[in-house]
Subunit: 214 residues, 2 copies
DNA sequence: CAACCAAATGAATGGTTATTCATTTTTATG
DNA sequence: CATAAAAATGAATAACCATTCATTTGGTTG
């Protein structure tokens, strides 16, 4: 997901394969947001990317693989961001949790184009095992990490009746639901507001740590 | 949404128009769950319903209208169920809220076929104003009712720092997120468990009323 | 700069799919 | 029972779309 040389204006033909793939994935995200997954065509994607019809099959073999790579792209972006926080040894447990929430509602993540992509794929998981397995793997990974953080925080205060697993499940579901609000009621729910709702829940569980954040 | 005469085995041709439309909508729900919105075809739907190709255009004019009516169907089913609870004068405020949660995680609502339909349409709202407006209207209606219930409950206990609007937003998002868990991790999350998570949140806000429900 | 190679193009192809409508089947009416 | 009206059928049609591949373009190398 890191900086790939995308000097599209200079010498397009010299772009590394990886960069062209990224360009096509980003065009796909825009198209899914603009036209919906069900009516996004190869012609739409290639035109959005400013390239020719055959290009997708050249780089991805098929439309289906392009879609899978698109899901993997946003899913990796999300997981990588959270892992970086989780593995950052300069942060305290409390700071990691705060950074996690900040990330969940950061511009790059709650971009409405990407939210549209998330929901489009979630809607198809029941019929596409490949989509489901991509989603399932990142979900477990994140849940384990976050539960661990809550368990650590529990030891740092008077939180004897906090259940870290339950809090993780609840926080995660809440975050997903707030993403939905950001997607379908853009005028009613602003990112900062969504983040405040998430903080409000954490404050109910860890008042000593998060009461002041609201 | 009420009982429509569907005597499919007796005299199919005599079914009222409304019933045939319902039959087609239910076939559509099954197909979207089975094949995904993007690859559900007219042939799939009519075959699932045990009818002939031309039937959808006869009753719905076009595929697009069938899809819109399908969204309206699940959306009405949900809204009607909640309104019935909200308007039931035999229930106390507390009982209404409990009934609301029970309904949110009842078999009819968290049927995985229907969940797949919800997410499929949510994923397309950004590109289809019609889908968006159907969703937007029911969301506002429910939020107003639920906020009102929380405001009433606030007066029945030591809840001076409870914010009914915030609690409504948070509960609603949580519920949507739990629906996602039920859709994509069916083996990990059971309906009763999801409901318990929702109750857990309400207990943080109204401990005097809901602490014992967990 | 010439020759080669990789990347990209886009017209052509073939398969898929929504929609139509002439025909058939069923129900209602007198 | 005969006739008319309504409902349903499904083969035919026309539009659409993913994929292919012969050709062109651009970059690299010696």
């Amino acid at each position: 997901m890191e900086a790939v040389n995308t000097k599209a204006n200079d010498t397009p033909r010299a772009m590394p394969k990886q960069a062209r793939r990224k360009q096509l994935i980003q065009a796909t995200i825009k198209c899914i947001a603009k036209k919906g997954l069900s009516s996004t065509t190869m012609a739409d994607v290639t035109q959005q990317a400013g390239l020719s019809m055959g290009i997708v099959n050249l780089h991805f073999q098929s439309k289906e693989r392009l879609l899978i790579e698109t899901l993997r792209y946003i899913s990796d972006e999300y997981t990588d961001g959270l892992n970086k926080i989780f593995n950052d040894k300069s942060l305290s447990t409390e700071q990691k949790i705060l950074a996690h929430i900040n990330f969940d509602f950061s511009r790059a993540i709650i971009d409405r184009n990407k939210l549209a992509v998330w929901f489009a794929f979630w809607g198809e998981t029941k019929s596409r095992p490949t989509y489901l397995s991509i989603c399932a793997s990142y979900i477990n990974e994140i849940a384990n990490n976050l539960t661990h953080l809550f368990a650590l925080l529990k030891q740092q205060g008077d939180y004897s009746n906090v259940n870290p697993e339950l809090v993780c499940t609840c926080y995660t579901a809440l975050s997903d639901g707030l993403w939905l609000d950001l997607l379908i009621t853009p005028k009613g729910m602003k990112p900062a507001q969504a983040q405040a709702v998430a903080m409000h829940y954490l404050a109910t569980q860890f008042p000593e740590h998060f009461k002041n954040e609201i």
